[in-house]
């Protein structure tokens, strides 16, 4: 029997040479006349070990990583294909690696285990059980289950999904032909976030299943996945999976033989961070500039093309099949306080063991950074941690014992957002990071609100003056004032939360703003829409 080897095809594994590795291994095996089956699975999310090669054995999969091209001959010599443990790259049984073993994987239970575009694999691992249950329920019963599970939007705002769905379900719609929509927000623009990407690249049928169930629940027959164009690998895998789902009756005019329709299509963004904001995303889907809309009306009542629309993040929709399959209680039973279920945290930046860590809400940042992350990659002390993307707060060490749940973070003046955790070592210049936050806002603002559009440009200038020691004290006061104006005078989170990283840098790393920096400042490197 041919040995079965798994080499991931997700973005990170490919970025570290997985494709070349798969080719080389196939070539090498062929030369040695060893029969070999290579499965291109999704990643397990232990990115520091990529490319991670796994071999199926009677005891389970044995992992080797990170595997380089040059290591292949000796790995084969030393029993790679039998799962032997002599070679120093051998990590033992994959499931026993503590980083993975200690997680509570719910959304990512199948990630890295299955071939992402194998329907048989997906079904064999519990796929479409939730969908089949949903087919036997009324739309209202599905909405009730989702309410009971307590699942909240994973995009950052943490709005209860069931409440949103109920609104869409009850909405009457406009015009002679009412068309409700399910829109998946896959514009995962936050730096440090890759959980959405991993769902789409490792387990895309789960998202498709979640969206079809949502469609059944609210009475929507058309779905769109709004995917950022920066994710070419995810786009390819999603397209493959959607084709397969259509061919097997999980999408189309008669899903699962129910007589009900659900059509699904991927639409690509075009490098605009603001389109992760739901109303901006809807404008973009309609073929317009991604200008933020005023709310109300809520998208649930007047969303895409003016019709009732569920807009949910990838992780929210991906959690739905579990709720249906295992029951609302199983989901609600995990977590703390009002933060129910699990949260996929993403360890990124200057971290030794970066990757995806799915845990019930409640562990501390310190646990993530050190127990899972293993400290900094550079070996220097970690100094600042940005949680929740480019609009998230920079946390100094004294805040690392805050439990990771929505409410505890809000109390600490921070946001959990999409769960991205970016570590910086002590070589970081926090004044430069504050400047970047303003610069990013200047490049990515949609331009609708003046405090965001102009304030961000002024913010860059003021920080430059502070760093060049021009009227430093007065300019620091001005900067604080500018941040207040942006926070209070912007319609969406872009302008409203850009002050988070700036103010937290000022507050916790004030010494970095007192240093003189005489070098010439770079100008804004991106292309502002309003130049």
């Amino acid at each position: 029997m041919a040995a079965k080897v798994f080499i991931p095809r997700d973005t990170t594994a490919q970025a570290l040479g997985a494709n070349q590795l798969a080719e080389q291994l196939a070539f090498e095996a062929c030369q040695r006349q060893i029969p070999l089956e290579i499965v291109r699975n999704g990643s397990r999310g232990m990115f520091w070990l990529e490319p991670l090669v796994e071999v199926e054995t009677a005891k389970g999969r044995v992992a080797y990583g990170p595997v380089t091209l040059s290591a292949i001959p000796e790995l084969l010599d030393q029993g790679l294909l039998e799962g032997r443990k002599e070679h120093p790259l051998c990590l033992g049984l994959t499931e026993e690696i503590p980083y993975l073993k200690n997680q509570q994987r719910l959304t990512f239970a199948r990630a890295g285990i299955i071939d992402p575009v194998s329907l048989a694999d997906y079904r064999q691992h519990g796929g479409f059980i939730g969908f089949e249950k949903a087919l036997k329920l009324s739309g209202q019963e599905i909405v009730d289950l989702v309410k009971k599970s307590g699942i909240r939007g994973r995009g950052g705002a943490a709005f209860p999904a069931g409440v949103k769905w109920q609104t869409v379900r009850d909405a009457q719609g406009k015009g002679p032909r009412v068309q409700k929509y399910v829109v998946c927000n896959a514009d995962e623009g936050d730096s440090g976030s890759f959980a959405d990407r991993l769902v789409m690249e490792a387990d895309p049928f789960m998202l498709i299943e979640g969206m079809a169930i949502t469609g059944l629940a609210v009475g929507a027959t058309q779905g769109y996945i709004y995917l950022r164009s920066e994710y070419p690998v995810a786009a390819k895998i999603l397209d493959e999976a959607i084709d397969i789902a259509y061919a097997n009756g999980y999408l189309g005019t008669n899903i699962g033989g129910s007589g009900k329709a659900f059509e699904l299509e991927v639409r690509l963004g075009a490098e605009a961070y603001i389109c992760g904001e739901e109303t901006s995303l809807l404008e973009s889907l309609e073929g317009k500039r991604g200008l933020v809309r005023a709310k109300p009306p809520l998208p649930a009542i007047e969303g895409l093309f003016g019709q009732p629309t569920v807009v949910n993040n990838v992780l929210t929709l991906a959690a739905v099949p579990y709720v249906l399959a295992e029951g609302a209680e199983a989901y609600a039973g995990k977590g703390m306080g009002r933060s129910r279920g699990t949260m996929p945290f993403q360890l990124a930046g200057n971290i030794k063991q970066g990757g995806l860590v799915e845990l019930a809400f409640g562990p501390t940042l310190r646990t993530l950074l050190f127990d899972y992350g293993g400290g900094s990659l550079s070996g220097r002390p970690i100094r600042a941690v940005q949680v929740g993307g480019p609009l998230g707060t920079y946390l100094p060490e004294k805040q690392w014992d805050t439990p990771l749940d929505y409410e505890a973070f809000a109390e600490a003046g921070a946001v959990l957002g999409h769960g991205g955790v970016v570590a910086f070592d002590d070589s970081v210049d926090m004044a430069e990071q504050a400047r970047f936050a303003m610069e990013f806002c200047a490049v990515e603002s949609c331009g609708k609100c003046t405090p965001c559009r102009i304030g961000s440009v002024r913010g860059v200038e003021v920080i430059d003056k502070v760093r060049a020691d021009q009227n430093r004290d007065a300019n620091l006061i001005l900067l604080q004032d500018l941040c207040d104006t942006m926070r209070d005078g912007s319609m969406c989170a872009m302008g409203g939360m850009t002050p988070n990283p700036v103010v937290s840098a000022l507050q916790h790393f004030a010494e970095d703003f007192q240093r003189s920096n005489s070098t010439n400042q770079p100008t804004i490197s991106g292309e502002s829409r309003h130049a």
């Binding site: 970025a15 730096s191 890759f194 490098e271 889907l285």
Partner: protein, 179 residues
Amino acid sequence: MNVFLDKDRIRSADAVLEELAPSDSELVIGTINRLKNEPGALLPILHAIQDQLGYIPPSSIPSIAKALRQTAAEVHGVLSFYHHFRKTPPGRRVVQICRAEACQAVGSRNLEQHAKMALGIDYHQTTADNEVTLEPVYCLGNCACGPSVRIGDEIVGRVDAERFDELVEALALQPLEVK
């Protein structure tokens, strides 16, 4: 910024756009006709044109506008809103460097300085030999293994100065695949 800019090596961005070749013109019209009845068709049309030609020729704007019953100003507004779309042909390869925080934490600021020096261009510029157009990008989702670079549809992780030079050198040897 202390980037050495050799003016002769930079092709001016606005010294472009000749009339479209008839085959390109046909391709633009065919694309518009294929997609114009999709709901929210403008972005899919712009993507399809840029995927095939590498850019959106400004001369195609009136045809797009007419097909979608919009004004040319509306189409231009959308085209210029999104960083991805370009109105001038890029070099043979577009190289994007991630500027976002997770990559900054592992040295992307040094990488971008190096890239600009090595290529002799700034962001949004193309080398005079028309090989490389350099663009910034804000996050490629490879945040645990930065600094990240995207070349065409390929994303490369853990890119330091040395690795960047290797990648650029390899580009020169690669034939361009025809889409």
